[in-house]
Symmetry: C2
Subunit: 349 residues, 2 copies
DNA sequence: GTTAGCACTCATTTTTATTGAGTGCTAATT
DNA sequence: AATTAGCACTCAATAAAAATGAGTGCTAAC
């Protein structure tokens, strides 16, 4: 069967109506809509076709229709490819400067949740080509030395290292020099066992301590170790009856809490967005129901967008809501926030 | 009216039964309990008295009774003052060493939630007498300087400071010396405007940068700025029907998310525990329903305990659950974890 | 190809009955 | 004087029955 313009219009009307009300949509409701001057009976025939084609479903005989995942997908694809309307009267979002990245991201997730009324999730940026930029050991007190490690993208990692015997300033200086000359500018792959042994040798009696430092360096560079997830607006799911029975709500909320579930989503979404970057969709991905890599989100839709800070630090933000979420608004909001982060970063620079 | 032994027994029986079932308890149920050899009618009379005294409530005429907040309070007070039974077959909890405090606390909250099946919340420690221990500026690249600030208790704070013109190593060394000689060992109150002006003067053309550094120091020392809250097990509330209607669940979950709500709870609980430290209750506080400083917790009970790391760093952990929570188990679990943290810290030292 | 008409379906709502746990009170018993 | 048996009564919860109404599919007329 072929999709024609009237079918498209009817499908769109069904979906739009369902997005608003969350209730199955009947033929009469649609016939009353202006623009489409046909009787309910005709609509019924078309609906019957649409159902056969898999775009809509009947929860039970003699109820109205609701969109299937395929129906949503059709709608979302059409919407996304449309020329973007000017960013309408969207709530102004102001990301305040925060000097800690974590604060900033927490703020972003809150902002997303508040302006969409869905749940939001923001990941810390994953650094791709991260090289060591700077190491510094400092003597903090008689039996502890602090190692500060800065990697590209100005990610900072601290590690307090206990020492048996007090170390004098001179030695610290020497060790600093040793570490910096050998390690600066290197990536994880370049720091191999040979190099480590060499450095340890040169460190003499302090080789053990240097071992700890190098471990910390490795940890700092390895990106996924530091992947943090910020969530907000979990309680928003209670706004949508179809998600708020105990079973589902509990599942969604624990997923939001079990932040590690998002790693998969993140890596998949990052790569998929890379793939179709040419299609110029502002790097926004929509997962409807079972399309989502997170199985417990089968009753939700997940919309993800990437953001990019300096030096290729890419992170992800997503909105989690019912399948009948306002995709248009969500996409706009994400786009807005992408830009916001962009300009914020530029200002900072 | 007076409380006698039989009334106490009956009250206790009502509460225990209600804790298990969550259903109102009737006179026949209690009469069938061994140990109390009286007829349901007698129980009814006693129950009538207990109700008059405010220990129990009838949800509606001709239903069984449920404990009132006052009833729970009676029960909890009795339980807490009993000689503590040996820590029975409690699930072994192992706090793995984590080198980041935040990881550790997140882990603790998860552990609490998992072993009690309630929601858990852990605060980062609040430092009381925090003095500056160590400052270090380092040149990271041509236009940024990294300030590392260590306060007592080995809390580390990093701040990246952009600079207009490149600074040479010598100047950095001088500034480091300047800062350390003037600021080390001082607490927030001791760093006054006069001192700041003095330092800025000495810093000459770098006074502006030094200003940023001192701001960061102030921020690092001010404890409440850094108060972080870790939560876990929010979804556990769905285990308890009396909390899982949408209204209540949503309220509780957003409270868990709005972490700032806990500040009040924390400060109050810390001081109250200080007050009655002599009464030897292991610093465990129970807030039943409206007793809680957090208004949205009126349908829950909140049990809090403090923990203490080195140098008087005190933090709080709490369990949030239904009023009919297993207070005994919760108290034991908290106690266990207090000890665990204690030994962990000692090992570390 | 479109529409009016109609019988039919079925979730939802409303109504009515039924059940049963639990009470309070009174009068008998210990 | 305290305890208990007995009984009428209350009321949430469950079940069963009836009414409602939105919506469908199909057929026949336009």
């Amino acid at each position: 069967m072929e999709m024609n313009e009237r079918k498209t219009k009817i499908l769109e009307a069904i979906i739009k109506n369902y997005l608003e009300t969350g209730e199955p949509v009947g033929s009469r409701t649609i016939s009353k809509l202006e623009g489409l001057k046909v009787s309910p009976a005709t609509i019924r025939n078309e609906m019957s076709d649409l159902e056969e084609m898999g775009y809509i479903l009947q929860p039970h005989t003699s109820s109205g229709r609701i969109p299937s995942d395929k129906g949503y997908r059709f709608y979302v694809d059409r919407m996304m490819s449309e020329k973007e309307k000017e960013v309408s009267d969207m709530k102004d979002m102001v990301v305040q400067k925060a000097d800690q990245l974590s604060e900033l991201l927490q703020q972003v997730s809150k902002l997303l949740a508040e302006s969409t009324n869905y749940a939001a999730m923001v990941s810390s940026p994953q650094i791709h080509h991260n090289k060591l930029k700077f190491i510094q050991l400092s003597k903090v007190d008689a039996n502890s030395v602090l190692a500060v490690i800065v990697v590209e993208g100005n990610i900072i990692k601290n590690k307090m290292i206990p020492v048996e015997e007090e170390i004098d300033q001179d030695t610290i200086l020497k060790l600093n020099l040793l570490l910096n000359t050998h390690l600066n500018g290197l990536s994880l792959e370049e720091i191999n066992l040979g190099l480590i042994t060499l450095i340890k040798e040169r460190a003499g009696i302090h080789s053990e301590m240097i071992g700890s430092v190098i471990d910390a360096v490795a940890e700092a560079i390895r990106a996924d170790e530091d992947l943090e997830i910020y969530t907000s607006g979990a309680n928003n799911i209670f706004r949508y009856p179809e998600l708020s029975d105990n079973q589902k709500a509990s599942e969604i909320i624990s997923t939001l809490e079990e932040k590690n579930q998002f790693e998969e989503l993140m890596s998949r979404s990052l790569s998929e967005i890379d793939d179709k970057l040419d299609s110029e969709q502002h790097g926004i991905q929509v997962y409807i129901g079972n399309e989502s890599p997170i199985k417990s989100m089968k009753d939700c839709s997940v919309v993800t967008a990437t953001y990019e800070l300096e030096d290729g630090m890419k992170g992800m933000m997503s909105i989690i809501g019912p399948k009948r979420m306002d995709y248009e608004k969500v996409a706009k909001t994400l786009k807005k926030l992408q830009e916001e982060l962009d300009t914020l970063y530029k200002k900072k620079k």
